[in-house]
């Protein structure tokens, strides 16, 4: 079995432009880490309940919950995937209770609308709370294999993060905050979170599809992350078209030089009712496919030049269900992402 490209990484952040399937990739990555016998926590922070839908379970509460087992590894060991749906309001209340032991005062905050203010209106605070909770799940001092009060310790955490356009800002919010808060407990906390995010224990993967804008945004995202010293991981190219045709066949399909007679003969031999609609349809589809493949190849070359490990996942024609997730997880494992 291949080895992983990311030894020692505990926090995998997965981002991507809207529509590229970043949540799917995050889920598949979590499953594939679990299929290395690891205990994995998959976190979502955008309030979509996407994890519950993908894994076909009840909507997730603000609490770590086991949702699936990984594929068995070579020794037959299966790790588990746990999931956590992080919402800012619960995170704030928990944070206040944990760090400040606010009893009556906590209620006063709520009564005066401070909780509401902090989580929905004051910009940036949401991101601080969301990243803070991820940090809390990743920090040392949790115990492996138990469900003690401080929480179970995971071998890896996968974060289904906000989209590429916002990721540097999202992860760097603690850096900004540390600048704003100057001193005090918030600054100390913000500094610790940034230390984890910038360490070798964290990588940020970017999901893209082989189209112009998403590839451009991925390149921009990598540059932005590097500009604020956040560790860039790999690029996952998702929704790749099927590669049933060889390069020569593609070329012939593209310039319309496919042998029509041979195609008619083959189709008849296969027992199909051959008419012009069928033959023209197939030839047209072939040309269309060749055009798209050529565009994909030009974008693929751009991705290759980004200088980071690249993984590819196919577009599953009937969509991604739980079985599909396991299939994608297996492919990520084969390619060394987990």
């Amino acid at each position: 079995m291949s080895t992983t490209d990311w030894p020692g990484v505990e926090l995998h952040v997965v981002t991507g432009k809207g529509g590229t399937g970043k949540s799917t990739v995050a889920a598949a990555l979590a499953l594939s880490l679990a299929s290395r016998g690891k205990d994995v926590l998959l976190c979502e922070v955008e309030g979509r309940q996407g994890i519950a839908q993908m894994f076909d379970v009840e909507p997730l509460p603000y609490e770590e919950r086991r949702i699936a087992a990984g594929l068995p590894d070579e020794n037959g060991v299966r790790g588990n995937v746990h999931a956590l749906h992080i919402d800012a309001e619960s995170a704030l209340l928990e944070y206040l209770a944990m760090y400040y032991k606010l009893g009556r005062a906590g209620k006063a905050l709520d009564r005066f609308g401070v909780i509401d203010f902090a989580t929905t209106i004051a910009p940036g605070v949401r991101d601080v709370l969301l990243t803070g909770k991820v940090f809390e799940a990743a920090k040392d001092g949790r115990k492996k294999g138990t469900s003690s009060k401080s929480g179970r310790q995971y071998d890896a955490i996968v974060l289904d993060a906000p989209p590429t356009g916002r990721i540097a800002q999202f992860l760097n919010v603690n850096g900004e905050l540390a600048g704003l808060a100057k001193a005090g407990p918030i600054k100390a906390q913000a500094d610790t979170v940034m230390t984890l995010f910038r360490s070798k224990r964290t990588v940020i993967h970017l999901v893209t599809v082989l189209e112009e804008m998403p590839v451009q945004e991925t390149a921009d995202g990598i540059a932005e992350l590097r500009a604020v010293d956040l560790p860039v991981g790999g690029v996952v190219v998702n929704l790749v078209r099927p590669q049933d045709l060889s390069p020569e066949q593609l070329a012939a399909a593209g310039d319309g030089s496919l042998d029509r007679e041979a195609l008619v003969a083959d189709l008849s031999a296969a027992g199909l009712d051959v008419d012009d609609a069928l033959v023209d349809g197939l030839l047209g589809e072939a040309r269309h496919h060749a055009e798209r493949r050529a565009l994909e190849d030009s974008q693929r070359a751009l991705v290759a030049r980004m200088g980071v490990p690249v993984y590819e996942l196919p577009r599953l024609p009937s969509g991604v269900d739980l079985g599909g997730l396991y299939e994608l997880a297996g492919l990520l494992r084969e390619q060394g992402m987990a």
């Binding site: 400040y100 910009p123 918030i186 027992g271 199909l272």
Partner: protein, 415 residues
């Protein structure tokens, strides 16, 4: 037969009758077994040509082609004689260049190269910080404006934190609309909405700004500037203590200074936010929900449709971008796969035909899946007029590309 048996048998008969009725009505089973009526077609040209349409807002989740759709609608409207301005948030670089708006100066610029006629097209890209600064400058005295613009909280709020974009897009829309009314510069404004992390951010922006301004917390932060804090009672001092403990006294002071300086602007802000919200509910406004035939995007679209009707905001229809085109022949996916398999078994080096059949099967499955997703959307939201735009082979970066998208939106085959 005693009466119990009688009842039972009657019940049984009724049930059988019901079953028969169901089975003659439809062959499918399940509570929603009636065949849904197809979604009515969205008449884009009628919408664009109607002089009563003053604002078109395109909303939807990220990556579904909102920006391209907005630009294509604006161009089409202009070439059909409207005086249009399109407000985009984050267009692809090459599209922005082709429209002449790569400069971020927050002012609408004329787009060159549109077909001659009575219409015109201006475009602008939203600079949220600039918009925010302009609002401050227009509302406060020069010294006060300077103090606000230099406050660290203002700098963070106006440029780097999420959420501000939504406020500012709505603010700019309000500005453009007021100017257009006053000077007759435009008769149609097309707005692209920011790629919100959730649909809520955009719709709630004006409302939230209002509630922010009315919020108890803000009032309390302002309290020291207005009168002795002890009047506020025990709850207040508890709250202040808690806030101080968490964010530190210096930060609280900074924040208080910022809010106090901002206080003068509040009245104006609230009024504008309220006006914008009403503008969005007005008859001249049309919302287009943009989606792709994917479960997430359609779920978001469904959410939007429900929210819009809940807020009494006028929904014009749904645009489904990036749809896969239906194959010309009616060869099914399974049949194609079986034929490919037969060919392979017969001859392991069967040339290109099995590959073509695989591609065909793949496409049929995707088209069927997309159709199913759209049918489900229609079943849950019947009557939402829909335009389906096929996926284009490459990104759009010029006016010709936008015209092609416009044709497709209007249900005309591509030129």
């Amino acid at each position: 037969m005693n009466w119990l048996d009688c009842c039972a048998s009657r019940e049984w008969h009724e049930r059988e009758e019901w079953r028969e009725q169901m089975s003659t009505r439809t062959t499918r089973v399940g509570p929603l077994a009636t065949t849904p009526a197809p979604a009515p077609a969205l008449d884009v040209d009628a919408l664009l040509d109607d002089p009563a349409t003053e604002i078109i807002v395109c909303c939807g989740s990220g990556g579904v082609g909102k920006t391209t759709t907005s630009a294509a609608l604006a161009l089409r409207a202009a070439e059909r004689g409207r005086k249009v301005v399109v407000l985009t948030i984050d267009p692809a670089r090459r599209l922005a260049q082709s429209m002449g708006i790569e400069a971020l100066d927050n002012t609408p610029r004329p787009v060159t190269g549109i077909a001659a006629g009575t219409g015109s097209l201006d475009a602008m890209m939203l600079d949220m910080k600039r918009t925010f600064d302009e609002v401050v400058e227009s509302q406060a005295s020069p010294e006060k404006a300077k103090a606000i613009l230099e406050n660290p909280f203002y700098v963070a709020l106006s440029s780097s934190f999420a959420g501000t974009q939504e406020y500012m897009a709505m603010e700019k829309l309000g500005q453009l609309h007021r100017d257009a009314r006053a000077e007759g510069t435009y008769d149609l404004i097309v707005v692209d909405t920011p790629p919100s992390r959730s649909a809520l951010d955009f719709l709630d922006a004006p409302e939230r700004l209002s509630s922010f301004l009315d919020g108890k917390f803000i009032r309390l932060l302002l309290a020291p500037a207005r009168g002795p804090a002890k009047l506020m009672g025990v709850g207040f001092s508890l709250m202040t203590k808690a806030v101080t403990k968490i964010i530190g006294a210096t930060v609280l002071q900074d924040l208080q200074m910022f809010v106090t300086a901002f206080d003068t602007l509040f009245g104006g802000f609230r009024q504008r936010a309220q006006q914008t919200f009403e503008l969005l509910q007005a008859d001249g406004t049309a919302f287009l929900v943009v989606a792709a035939p994917e479960p997430d995007a359609l779920r978001e679209a469904a959410y939007f449709v429900e929210r819009l009707s809940g807020e009494h905001m006028p929904l014009a229809g749904l645009v489904v971008n990036r749809a896969s085109t239906k194959p010309a022949s009616d060869l099914g996916a399974d049949e194609a796969m079986a034929a490919a398999e037969r060919l392979r078994r017969r001859n392991s080096d069967a040339g290109i035909t099995p590959g073509l059949l695989h591609l065909h099967a793949d496409r049929v499955r995707i088209v069927e899946r997309e159709q199913l997703l759209r049918d489900r959307f229609t079943a849950a939201h019947p009557g939402v007029a829909t335009a389906v735009v096929p996926a284009l082979p490459s990104d759009v970066h010029d006016l010709d590309g936008l015209r092609r998208v416009g044709d497709l939106l209007a249900g005309k085959s591509a030129r």
